[in-house]
């Protein structure tokens, strides 16, 4: 009898453990899940007004590695010193995971308080209703704060007149050139590249000398846009009637040009590690990429003696230049921590921090005051990005308008179809324009 009692007790214990485990985390303030961060500040009773908050801050992983991470940590410690009740929990994610995380978060409730988002992600967010409208808080800020941003970039973050992000960073693509490959092929890099024809000539020489011209670009819409931008009056996006702004003939020319160039290239795709490796090991002449690629190449200069430079992506004529551009914003999710999140967001986007960020990392910031500061003006990479942005097209319009989640994949498939001969360049261009217009209007 006694031992039967133990049996019952044991099982009761097991069940209660189970139930206990169910119940325990549903208590409010379940931050105890987050074990690696030091955010488990016990809340002191009686301090309701000055309740400590921990802000989950989601950021792209390339903004949170190496020198960028050091800079983030500096900002965080400064901000936390000035605001003792706010703690910042920096969480880095690959770019596309931020969007996916917010979508899943709409169901699971695992949301950041503040996060970095590109405009390309806005269509998804707008259907989820998770972005805080920043207009009232923005209007309450001093004029000096409000006027520092580039107006066009600020406008882009508005939907129906409401502001959904503070301008934070920007990029525009450029062409990285391996100087050794060019010289070996008998090309004088100093002469630059005047236009597509000249570029193709150089690529032929490179190919004849046994190196590859460019990686495969037709795997993704993004690098193709960058070449497309090198034509007069090129635009992505949609007009008032909801038709795609892309010009079928110009896009067809672009695809033909890229396919011809890829004949002289390698099978390695632009997003593969192999493409970077080929470039570093002097087997690839041209690599179109964003300013973030510069970090990798600069490291290779020391490690393997890479000789490279970066120029604007050539256009169809000497007056035109290509490139893709996009801006990133700090967005705030609706929730109890909006006020603290706003403090952090305005701190990060203010001129003082933007100057440090930009000049240290060579990253473009859509902050006119910061761009005008002498230290930023000296930074060649920032200036090149700014120049590139003059001609570049926007990366993933439409912004704030819902599109099918796989719209990019559909465009990529058409490009792949052109590369493998399923479509002629003209057919592919027509299909891209038609499909984009259809997708834009259907949803």
């Amino acid at each position: 009898m006694k031992i039967k009692f133990y049996t019952a007790l044991f099982c009761l214990l097991l069940v209660s453990l189970l139930l206990g485990a169910c119940a325990a985390p549903s208590a409010p303030n379940s931050t105890n899940n987050n074990m690696n961060s030091s955010d488990d500040t016990p809340s002191e009773p009686g301090q309701a007004a000055e309740e400590p908050v921990t802000l989950d801050f989601w950021i792209y992983s390339d903004y949170a590695t190496g020198p960028a991470l050091e800079m983030q940590n500096t900002f965080i410690s400064e901000f936390e010193a000035a605001n003792p009740n706010i703690k910042i929990n920096l969480i880095s994610k690959p770019g596309t995971d931020i969007g996916a995380g917010l979508i899943a978060g709409a169901v699971s409730g695992e949301m950041p308080d503040v996060f970095v988002h590109g405009l390309g992600d806005t269509p998804t967010y707008s259907t989820l209703n998770i972005l805080e409208n920043l207009t009232p808080m923005f209007e309450a800020m001093p004029e000096s704060y409000k006027n520092q941003f580039i107006p066009e970039v600020l406008e882009k973050a508005k939907s129906d007149g409401n502001l959904y992000g503070l301008p934070y960073t920007g990029y525009s693509t450029m062409l990285y050139r391996n100087l050794k490959v060019l010289k070996d092929a008998g090309i004088d890099p100093d002469a630059g590249i005047t236009d597509w024809e000249d570029w193709m000539n150089q690529m032929q020489k490179v190919n004849a000398n046994g190196a590859a011209s460019i990686p495969v670009l037709t795997i993704n819409w993004w690098p193709v846009e960058g070449i497309y931008a090198g034509q007069k009056d090129s635009m992505t996006g949609f007009d008032e009637q909801g038709n795609s702004n892309l010009d079928v003939d110009k896009l067809a020319d672009t695809i033909s040009f890229i396919l011809e160039a890829q004949e002289l290239g390698t099978q390695v795709g632009i997003f593969d590690q192999g493409a970077v490796d080929l470039f570093i090991s002097n087997q690839l002449a041209f690599f179109p990429g964003g300013p973030w690629s510069d970090v990798t190449f600069r490291a290779a200069v020391d490690e393997s003696g890479l000789e490279y430079d970066k120029i604007l992506i050539p256009g169809v004529s000497a007056e035109e230049h290509g490139g893709v551009k996009g801006y990133e914003y700090i967005g705030i999710t609706t929730g109890p921590n909006v006020d603290a999140a706003w403090k952090w967001a305005t701190y990060l986007t203010d001129v003082e921090q933007q100057v440090r960020w930009s000049s240290t990392l060579g990253r473009y910031v859509p902050n006119q005051e910061a761009l005008d500061s002498p230290t930023v003006k000296e930074n060649a990479l920032v200036q090149l990005t700014a120049d590139s942005a003059q001609n570049a097209v926007f990366d993933y319009p439409p912004y704030f308008k819902p599109m099918p989640p796989d719209w990019m994949a559909q465009v990529n498939d058409i490009l792949g179809g052109a590369a493998s001969g399923i479509y002629t360049p003209q057919e592919a261009a027509q299909k891209i324009v038609d499909d984009l217009t259809t997708m834009y209007n259907n949803k």
């Binding site: 169910c22 690696n36 969480i91 995380g101």
Partner: protein, 295 residues
């Protein structure tokens, strides 16, 4: 039973191969065996080679067949170990494996004890229901279980990772198979001595089932350590990433991680299963063979 020999003619040739010249069938046999040996080992060897190769940043296109720098390997490994994220993932994965396997062993051994050694009403029906789970694809329960975990506020917790997998039909099956072979007389003797139902389980059956439990633990470990799909949806915060989620993330083009880092982390992630295999080879092989034969 004595070791069975399928092709005695082959064997006589092999054993006498030092006396007679190698026969063609025997030769082909050795070639085949060595070819598959290379195929089986090469990817793992290649991973190891990249870790121990001096990086100029271009290892992915520079196929070394042999490691050329121990120093580079040590540097790669110490870099990965210093990386907070990696050690954290290692810890989370270990915790996940230990908790899930601990729970699985406890739950499954208690149930297996009943199914293997006792008769009671609805026994066959209950056993059938539990084992039918082996036929149901995880895909059916994945989404609703995820939403249940969300409701319990178990996302990014160890219980969210480990508890749903504890009632394993496979574990129940394996341990029931094992316990059926235990002598009934011991139970009768023990209950005459006044041992309780649970006491017999705890003091007699569990110790006797040690080998079966070890086999289950090892097989469950390899499955848990390598599980990607479940942690992928449950661990949404980097603090709760398992090794699988971390490495899969490194594979993404927008993670900007170089191949030497990917391979170093992969290499370190493959060590625990491989070390387990070296130590517990006999149990693993026998465990798989037994479950396979009995099914």
């Amino acid at each position: 039973m004595k070791k069975t020999e399928i092709f005695p003619q082959f064997l006589s040739r092999v054993t006498s191969k030092f006396k007679k010249p190698l026969q063609p069938t025997s030769f082909i046999k050795w070639v085949l065996a060595l070819v598959w040996f290379v195929i089986a080992i090469f990817p793992i060897w290649w991973m190891f080679t990249i870790v121990f190769t001096r990086g100029g940043g271009s290892v992915s296109i520079d196929p070394n067949l042999f490691p050329n720098s121990i120093a580079a390997g040590i540097e790669n490994i110490s870099n990965a170990l210093r990386e907070n994220q990696f050690m954290r993932a290692y810890f989370v994965t270990t915790l996940y494996a230990v908790v899930q396997i601990g729970g699985e062993i406890l739950l499954c051994s208690m149930a297996a004890y009943e199914f293997a050694l006792f008769k009671f009403p609805f026994k066959r029906a209950l056993f059938f229901i539990a084992l039918s789970a082996m036929m149901i694809p995880q895909a059916v329960t994945l989404i609703p279980t995820y939403l249940l975990v969300v409701d319990l506020k178990w996302l990014n917790t160890i219980q969210g990772l480990a508890v749903p997998g504890m009632a394993s039909a496979f574990g129940l099956f394996l341990l029931t198979q094992f316990m059926e072979k235990l002598p009934q007389e011991m139970i009768q003797a023990a209950s005459i001595d006044g041992a309780s139902h649970f006491g017999i389980f705890w003091k007699i059956i569990l110790p006797l089932s040690k080998n079966g439990i070890i086999t289950l633990a090892i097989l469950a470990f390899t499955l848990t350590w390598g599980n990607y799909l479940w942690p992928f949806i449950i661990s949404t915060k980097p603090a709760w990433y398992t090794i699988s989620v971390l490495v899969a993330g490194f594979n993404r083009h927008d993670s900007w991680v170089t191949i030497d880092t990917v391979m170093t982390v992969s290499f370190l992630a493959s060590l625990p299963p491989l070390i387990f295999y070296i130590i517990f080879q006999r149990q693993i092989v026998e465990g798989i063979a037994v479950t396979g034969l009995k099914g």
